[in-house]
Symmetry: C2
Subunit: 230 residues, 2 copies
Amino acid sequence: MLTLFHHPMSTGSRYARLILNEYGVEAELIEEKPWARRKEFLALNPAGTLPVLLAENDVPIVGPTVIAEYLDETRGALKRNRRLLPESPIERAEVRRLVDWFLGKLDNEVTRHIARERVFKLQMAAEQGGSSPDSTAIRAARSNIRQHMKYVDWLAATRDWLGGAQPSYADMAAAAAISILDYLGEIEWADHPAARDWYSRVKSRPSFRPLLSDRVRGLSPVAHYGDLDF
Amino acid sequence: MLTLFHHPMSTGSRYARLILNEYGVEAELIEEKPWARRKEFLALNPAGTLPVLLAENDVPIVGPTVIAEYLDETRGALKRNRRLLPESPIERAEVRRLVDWFLGKLDNEVTRHIARERVFKLQMAAEQGGSSPDSTAIRAARSNIRQHMKYVDWLAATRDWLGGAQPSYADMAAAAAISILDYLGEIEWADHPAARDWYSRVKSRPSFRPLLSDRVRGLSPVAHYGDLDF
């Protein structure tokens, strides 16, 4: 069985889990606190970032997009119409652009700041950077959510799925990020009906179920987090 | 002919140019100043980042790793032993990990800060963020260079090429970043003999020649920048 080092409030980790689940790949999950800079973990990934997949023979596959490409090559390519990357290079490029958007731009502008201030700092020891949340950082990150949700809304309104006609890695990346923000009650769903409809469809996929039972110690999700109809 | 929107002091742009040159793909280069947030450019890439490749039928391919995958699928796959991604998924994952390292981690910790403070700020109007360089930011970035160069030194000393037995995207990503730092005289080559030997080999490739004649207005490269024997 494969092993995934992950954290439930890391977008890249959720992205990798969704893909593993979509492709029916069993993996043991090990929750890693990257800020602890555990020596054994740094030996797997000197960058110290999540997620890391131990593939066949325990070879570490490092980082969300690298894991996604690996799983596409070793699993997805055999899945025919359930493959999460389209066939044509141009369509693949559009899916990958959106993955970079949600794992990169959205993460840098919103998700990781919210997660750090509202979740990680509670779990960190003082010498690891633990402290009370920085409300200025939270406010700055929050001010970017609406623009990003408008973009998701626009994509959802103009395409069947965010990356094109079929479910793709773009949906998994967006849902990975948005599900973290939703857990924390940061999304104003009423303002984004097309995004809401899309998210409800993603949430209903069996691959999503394990994420809906994620719980962070000391921090309950908003009431509708697990509801398929919200 | 394809078109590449790029900037000579952007790691991702140099990476894309090296790959185009390696694969013998002709492309018209258009220098873009992303801080100007030109409307026509934002229409191609709403994230406003470089590089962007206009592929066949002027479809925009956005971002360095997305461009690299696209060129692998449409060009590299036909190149046999001159392909810049290995055949096996595990080896491909290692190359992609290193690409992320040099385009992501090195860029975030060093290259883009040095480029912004020492180059971009000189080219920006005041209302675009132009100002004199921030010496604290430069010092912070510089303090990370040695660790990164030690890692390149270690990779170069233990492998034929940074990503494995053959030249790969990992070499192109590392050389893209390091050539910017080298232009600006930021690399202490004497301390990193294996890295120096590796860089000299990359520099000698025909694909590299156009980058060695890059000039930034008002800022000459260090004397050895274009020398193959430095």
